[in-house]
């Protein structure tokens, strides 16, 4: 047992860091450092830069154009990316759809779609949840009816993240009402430019537009856009969910957020003294830092166990998802709390880079302040999406504890 990275791994880290430092556009870095609004363009530009370097899909095997890195290398890359402030890659394309296509799609689909993802040509979004089907996903009702060489898709998806940017959407649709609800579900790839698709924005509690409702009105989808077998979609869906959760621990994101929290607490003054000197606030930071220290090791223990036993991730990812999402929330809450009264102003303009605050305000209201309260509000979603904490605990009690 040894927690030290090998010299090779340390060299790899240096190489990754040097690359990101050199290649990450300054404007993107500044935006992410200050927690400003990220644009699709930021993520696409970065994806293309990574692609040019052969790092477009670090978690994919090489035969699909990935870097074929092991779990530790991926961990190191993620840590450095987050620490420097490079944007995350599109998880829907790379972490969710990618593994499904690599495992269940036919050669033609793999050859067409996978390279376009790595090249940043296609932006994918997810069509899973429906108004009546959240935790109980299998009850979904969006229908796909065969008609000659295509499916006719009708229904409504919701809680769709960043679909307003998407070129494609992967959808769970009902192709049969026979048997258990799980048995009639298929996995379809749908071009967002297809006639009959309407995207309606949903405003989140922080006032931002991040998620959408998507309506399908007689949308024609070619049969060859079916992944795997008809009515076997539930298997692919669950496979995808497990992969979705692998990175929900968000260690890299959290380590960066912890650093930022300490910087804020050192800069914010309480009664003229740094907030970081207040034992009460320092204890709160210490508590979340300890959770994070533990989770980083728990995460690596899980990943290395998976690697040793050369199996795919199991229900243990629920542990990572629960803790990781809680830690993200705690860090955002403490960042907001660190502002004290300065957490009250709501300055949407402040989410843009070009914002110039009133000098009166600017004297005590730092450039990192505007997003913090909104981020705390927004991150309440992390214990709800990708399988709520309650669902994760059901998974643990049934699949791990056997209750």
């Amino acid at each position: 047992m040894d927690l030290k990275f090998t010299p090779d791994q340390e060299a790899f880290r240096a190489q990754v860091r040097a690359f990101i430092e050199a290649e990450l556009p300054a404007d993107i870095r500044a935006r992410s450092r200050l927690g400003k609004r990220m644009q699709k363009d930021d993520m696409t530009r970065w994806q293309k830069i990574l692609d040019r370097h052969g790092w477009g899909a670090v978690m994919w095997p090489q035969r699909f154009g990935g870097s074929g890195w092991d779990v530790v290398q991926q961990h190191i890359f993620e840590e450095e990316r987050a620490d420097i402030g490079a944007p995350p890659q599109n998880a829907f394309s790379l972490r969710m759809l990618g593994p499904v296509l690599m495992t269940f799609a036919n050669a033609a689909q793999q050859e067409y779609f996978l390279p376009r993802i790595i090249a940043g040509e296609d932006w994918w979004c997810q069509g899973y949840s429906e108004p009546g089907s959240g935790s109980d996903l299998a009850s979904l009702r969006t229908s796909a009816v065969r008609q000659g060489d295509h499916y006719l898709v009708n229904g409504q998806k919701t809680w769709n993240t960043l679909g307003q940017y998407a070129d494609w959407i992967f959808c769970l649709v009902r192709t049969s009402s026979e048997g258990r609800p799980q048995q009639g579900i298929s996995f379809l790839l749908i071009d967002m430019k297809s006639p009959g698709i309407t995207v309606r924005p949903i405003t989140m509690l922080d006032g931002e537009h991040e998620i959408n409702e998507i309506w399908f009105d007689n949308v024609r989808v070619p049969l060859q856009n079916l992944v795997g077998e008809e009515n076997k979609g539930w298997t692919y869906a669950k496979f995808l969910l497990t992969h979705e959760r692998t990175n929900n621990a968000g260690i890299g994101f959290c380590k960066r957020a912890l650093k930022k929290l300490k910087e804020i607490a050192a800069e914010q003054l309480s009664n003229g003294r740094p907030l970081l000197d207040d034992p009460r606030f320092r204890d709160r930071i210490a508590q979340v830092e300890l959770e994070l220290m533990a989770l980083e090791i728990t995460n690596l223990r899980v990943l290395s166990a998976v690697a040793n036993e050369s199996r795919t991730l199991g229900p243990e990812v629920s542990v990572l998802k629960i803790k990781g999402s809680e830690i993200q929330q705690m860090l955002a809450e403490l960042q907001m709390q660190a502002l004290g009264p300065d957490a009250l102003p709501y300055l949407r303009e402040g989410l843009g880079m070009d914002w110039v605050p009133d000098p009166l305000l600017a004297r005590h209201y730092p450039p990192y302040a505007p997003p913090l309260s909104g981020q705390y509000f927004n991150l309440r979603k992390t214990t709800i999406y990708a399988g709520s904490t309650e669902i994760q605990k059901n998974i643990i009690s049934q699949q791990i504890l056997g209750l």
């Binding site: 959240g134 989140m204 907030l275 009264p341 102003p345 009166l360 509000f377």
Partner: protein, 377 residues
């Protein structure tokens, strides 16, 4: 020992409840939050006609001589209705401060006009780098030529943009952080040298940073005694905190009702999600938190009228710290139990949650008051 409202209080409660139900629906409230003013001038006039704006003032100033429990009753409904009007700033803290500390003529001229809704006040008592410390006053007040000159900056002054007058704490002697040497001044928002940088708040209200550049004031702009401004400001802020406690309790109750309804109506896996024991017990925890928070709000409301400042401070800080934690639990869990419906703008749940969060961060957060409580024997 009596936990019942008087008939007058229950009548007031019903009137206000009817008003909110009829004229202050969620959609109207969202419109108001987006408007330039940020609240309803019409509602303000109605509060005046209902007597709410003169509720805490003595009869001789046209008031109803209400006490802390009356304010609790109003503020609890202000929470439930997410009312945006500057009641706490103008009536409870501002008017209260005039009543408690101002000279007789000023009281006689201002309190009736506040009660009539003709005059609004805001309390400018915090500064950059002081966080929630009321003695952290760098803004200077110099007596010159029979009058005062104020210079400095006050930060995040709640409801300043709509206020006619600001009550400003400034340093007439001593160092930043000294309890003595703070004096209190009445400053017209339009006075030369006064500048505002206004913005909305995260919970729909309005606030501003206030710049004071060599603002000239008459001698009678001084409220109370020279260098003795801190304790009246502390008193006023404690009145405000008691009000915030009641507001939070109103929101907590409303959030619990909304969540309970959602648990009974939202179906997953073929049953209402309220059938799941884990959620039932969570809801039970939220109910217990609500009952305990209500008890603390009662303690704060009664303590707000206490003669002894130490007793008042301790009880009110304890209530703010306790309710801050109860509000955090209920707010976060109400959102969680609503699932994705809890994090969207179109339901009131997220607005209640955001307001609870901002209440905690106003007039001293949980940590600040926990320390003030635990330091007092």
């Amino acid at each position: 020992m009596d936990f019942n409202y008087s008939n007058e209080q229950m009548a007031l409660q019903e009137t206000l409840q009817r008003f909110i139900a009829r004229d202050y629906g969620f959609e109207q409230r969202r419109e108001l939050a987006r408007s330039t003013l940020g609240f309803s001038a019409g509602a303000w006039a109605q509060y005046a006609s209902l007597g709410l704006l003169s509720l805490p003032f003595p009869e001789e100033y046209g008031g109803l001589g209400g006490n802390g429990v009356d304010i609790m009753l109003v503020m609890e409904l202000a929470g439930r209705g997410l009312l945006l009007e500057p009641y706490l700033s103008s009536v409870v803290m501002g008017g209260g401060l005039i009543r408690a500390a101002a000279a007789e003529p000023l009281k006689r001229s201002m309190l009736p006009r506040i009660g009539a809704g003709e005059l609004k006040l805001a309390l400018a008592c915090y500064e950059a780098g002081g966080r929630y410390d009321l003695s952290h006053v760098a803004c200077t007040a110099v007596y010159r030529g029979g009058g005062w000159r104020l210079s400095g900056e006050k930060t995040v002054v709640l409801d300043a943009p709509s206020a006619d007058y600001l009550l400003v704490s400034a340093r007439s002697s001593g160092e930043v952080g000294d309890s003595n040497g703070i004096s209190l001044f009445l400053v017209a928002r339009e006075a030369p040298g006064v500048s505002l940088s206004a913005y909305p708040t995260q919970s729909g209200g309005r606030a501003a940073d206030v710049g004071l550049e060599d603002v000239a004031l008459d001698a009678n702009a001084l409220i109370g005694v020279v260098d003795g401004g801190l304790s009246p400001v502390e008193w006023a802020v404690d009145q405000g905190i008691a009000g915030l406690c009641a507001e939070a309790v109103g929101i907590i109750a409303a959030l619990n009702e909304a969540t309970l309804t959602y648990l009974k109506t939202r179906k997953q896996f073929g049953v209402p999600i309220g059938k799941f024991q884990a959620l039932q017990h969570r809801m039970a925890d939220m109910l217990i938190a609500a009952e305990q928070a209500r008890s603390m709000a009662v303690i704060a409301a009664v303590a707000a009228d206490a003669e002894d400042a130490r007793e008042r401070r301790r009880a009110i800080s304890g209530a703010k710290a306790y309710i801050g934690q109860a509000a955090r639990l209920v707010g976060q869990q109400a959102v969680q139990l609503h699932g994705a419906m809890g994090v969207v703008d179109e339901l009131i749940v997220s607005h209640y949650f955001k307001r609870l969060t901002m209440i905690d961060l106003s007039l001293g957060n949980t940590d600040f008051h926990l320390e003030r409580f635990s330091n007092a024997p």
